[in-house]
């Protein structure tokens, strides 16, 4: 999928596996798990993020979105694969170089409260990265902080206050100001609006768009809110249990989803329009998201997929280009036969790309 050279971030076969232990001699003696338990939070993700674009990342709780975001920034150490930033492999940078790059790669967090030090004033919080990277010193740090406050739509007067004195939306603005302090190129925004009220969500989304236009920022926008993702993103990636299962521009993912999980996900999004709601056919998936500890074999979605056939338990689907620039991972669809419902009616079995598992 490395289709053109203008990717700011290029992720190749990235893996983050957490070893939960078990399966060892000690475990047998102490009554621990008899099998080794591994959480494959991110399990072979390849993605390109172009300069200036917003890539939306959606998926259910625990599917690995935050872990992927952190692994790209190397806030979590990947267990496999590579991340290239402007063509440079981030894993092979010296500590000094990594420090330099870190400046360009920032993160905004879901819980604006937990991510701000309660004992620091707003001025200290936003000023910290400026001092760490020696971008400014003395009085000019203060000026820069006040400018940043204004950029994110807050009064300069608030700089001496503490995080608990602000609302959720204001704290999120502080988090954004802190990320912007070092003039980054790329920002991972991990559920930046999930904890906020509806009217404040709109404010933060507009702010993010405004900043992107002004500063030519590139975003990875993580959210489980498909409406927000659709609104902000140029392209959308859908994640399920550690893997990307669909990737296309926002409009196609929303209007023409191809992979069965995406189809169900889109159909589950409540639309604020009673007329549309009254006519909608909702696909109700049975069961819960399976545990990412030892996920199901074959296609990870096979335990809930209404189209699953026996082969889905053995063959792991590959993300394939089903329509131009529209990728999906399902063994029952192909570029020639992109629609699963039709394929089911025509009794088509395995027609898509996949690898057999032992």
């Amino acid at each position: 999928m490395n289709e053109n050279g203008n990717s700011l971030i290029s992720i190749q076969n990235l893996k983050v596996h957490f070893n939960l232990g078990g399966g060892g001699i000690i475990d047998r003696i102490t009554g621990g798990s008899p099998v080794r338990r591994v959480v494959k939070a991110v399990d072979g993700v390849s993605l390109d993020i172009k300069k200036g674009e917003t890539l939306g990342l959606v998926g259910e709780s625990g599917c690995g979105k935050s872990t992927l975001g952190k692994a790209i920034l190397r806030l979590t150490e990947p267990t496999g694969g590579q991340v290239f930033y402007n063509g440079k492999d981030l894993a092979h940078l010296s500590t000094g170089d990594m420090r330099e790059q870190r400046k360009n790669l920032q993160m905004i967090f879901q819980d604006p409260y937990a991510s701000l030090n309660p004992r620091m004033t707003v001025a200290q919080i936003i000023g910290e990265p400026i001092r760490t990277f020696n971008l400014k010193n003395g009085k000019s740090v203060e000026e820069r902080v006040q400018d940043l406050m204004e950029t994110v739509g807050m009064s300069r007067r608030f700089v001496k206050r503490y995080p608990h004195e602000f609302s959720g939306g204001q704290r999120q603005r502080i988090g954004i100001a802190r990320a912007l302090a070092v003039d980054p190129e790329f920002i991972v925004a991990d559920e930046p609006i999930s904890a906020l009220d509806v009217s404040i969500q709109a404010q933060i989304m507009n702010l993010m768009e405004k900043l992107q236009a002004e500063k030519n920022l590139t975003y990875l926008f993580i959210s489980h809110d498909l409406r927000a993702v659709r609104h902000l993103s140029d392209r959308v990636a859908v994640m399920y249990l550690g893997k990307i299962v669909e990737l296309a521009d926002g409009k196609s993912v929303y209007a023409d989803p191809l992979m069965p999980y995406t189809i169900a996900l889109i159909s589950a999004v409540p639309v604020p329009d009673p007329e549309i709601e009254a006519k909608r056919e909702r696909i109700i998936l049975t069961g819960d998201v399976p545990s990412p500890i030892n996920p199901p074999k074959g296609c990870h979605f096979n335990t809930r997929c209404p189209y699953a056939i026996a082969e889905c338990k053995q063959i792991e689907p590959l993300l394939a280009e089903i329509k131009p620039r529209h990728y999906a991972a399902c063994i029952r669809i192909s570029p020639e036969f992109p629609y699963i419902e039709e394929n089911k009616q025509n009794n088509l079995g395995v027609i898509g790309a996949g690898v057999s598992e032992k």
């Binding site: 259910e60 009220d197 509806v198 404010q203 996900l265 409540p270 329009d273 009254a278």
Partner: protein, 343 residues
């Protein structure tokens, strides 16, 4: 007993206040609405607007002190809940009125088996024997779609996922076939596919048992598909009440209009700037003079700063708290006509 007129619940000028260090918080300040048998009403509003306090008041669950219901009638099936002794309220709570909370973990006891918790309810309210209660517990878990209910019934809450715990809560709430179900943000903590499961479940139970439902949520999408009418709350007040279709099509209140426009519509193109209501949700302890929405309202005029707005009757089922309710309504109708002319 007074006349019910087919209403399961009538709330009339309810006021619930809290004494805090910051002064008196008028969490709910004069709420009036009716709920017919079998009907679902949605209550929407931003955090702190008084949604939960309204419903805790109906259940007489307001912690006193600091809180107190200071005014109003709460007539449940002809009986004024406020006049009942707390023992009589307990007989209704859990049996005839049941409640589901946002976070199922706060209402399930982590140290007790699911079976024990489900059995308690029906032993208390339906006089079930242990065996009857146990069988009923299994049946209820099956009703709410817990796979393999027979073996899961003796599990503990932490062994269940978020969606399953919410279903257990619903099973518990429904185990006595309540006439009124109050669901306070029942899906806010859940993923969309699980949310769809839970909403479908509530719909099915409604049609099966004729349960009346109060559905509290901040998600306009959720109420659009689930309710017959909607209350929009702001700063402890009802800002607008209308049948669902009418509220979405022709709102008569600037706050409602703003809320509707600030939600991204997935059918639309990406990149258009979202409408945004400026400012912050109100601090109920320090409301501005006049209309509480006035500092954020695009339409505010001098009178909005001077006087508290009237609750204007638009038509039989539609009311709006605004000095310009009729004008806003007329504008909505004109906008709607324009939109359909373009399409």
């Amino acid at each position: 007993m007074s006349e019910t007129n087919g209403h399961i619940l009538t709330v009339n000028d309810l006021k619930t206040y809290f004494q805090t260090e910051d002064g008196v918080v008028k969490a709910v300040d004069g709420i009036t609405f009716e709920l017919r048998k079998g009907e679902t009403i949605g209550i929407v509003g931003e955090s702190g607007s008084g949604k939960s306090v309204t419903n805790l008041s109906i259940m007489r669950l307001i912690p006193e002190p600091p809180g107190k219901i200071v005014n109003g009638d709460i007539i449940f099936d002809g009986v004024d809940v406020r006049k009942l002794s707390i023992e009589d309220v307990r007989k209704i709570r859990g049996k005839r009125i049941a409640m589901i909370f946002q976070d199922p973990m706060t209402s399930l006891n982590p140290f007790l088996k699911i079976s024990t918790q489900l059995m308690e309810v029906t032993q208390l309210h339906l006089g079930h024997t242990k065996e009857q209660a146990y069988q009923h517990a299994i049946k209820m878990l099956e009703t709410v779609g817990i796979p393999d209910a027979k073996s899961r019934v003796d599990g503990y809450p932490h062994e269940f996922s978020g969606g399953m715990r919410q279903r257990v809560m619903i099973a518990m709430a429904l185990s006595c076939q309540p006439e009124l179900l109050i669901a306070d943000e029942p899906t806010t903590a859940l993923d969309v596919t699980i949310q769809a499961q839970i909403l479908e479940l509530i719909k099915n139970l409604k049609s099966e048992f004729g349960t009346s439902v109060i559905l509290i949520t901040h998600d306009l999408g959720v109420v659009a598909g689930m309710t017959e009418k909607i209350i929009v709350m702001y700063a402890g007040k009802v800002f607008e009440i209308a049948p669902t279709a009418e509220l979405f099509a022709t709102p008569a209140n600037p706050y409602t209009k703003g809320l509707l426009k600030s939600v991204p519509d997935p059918a639309h193109e990406q990149g258009k700037e979202l409408y945004q209501i400026p400012g912050l949700p109100p601090d109920v302890a320090h409301l501005p003079p006049g209309c509480p929405f006035q500092p954020r309202c695009y339409r505010a005029e001098e009178i909005c700063v001077q006087e508290f707005p009237p609750f204007v009757q638009i038509n039989e089922n539609h009311r709006s708290l605004c000095h310009f309710a009729k004008e806003v309504y007329a504008e909505s109708i004109a906008e709607k006509a324009n939109k359909s002319a373009i399409v």
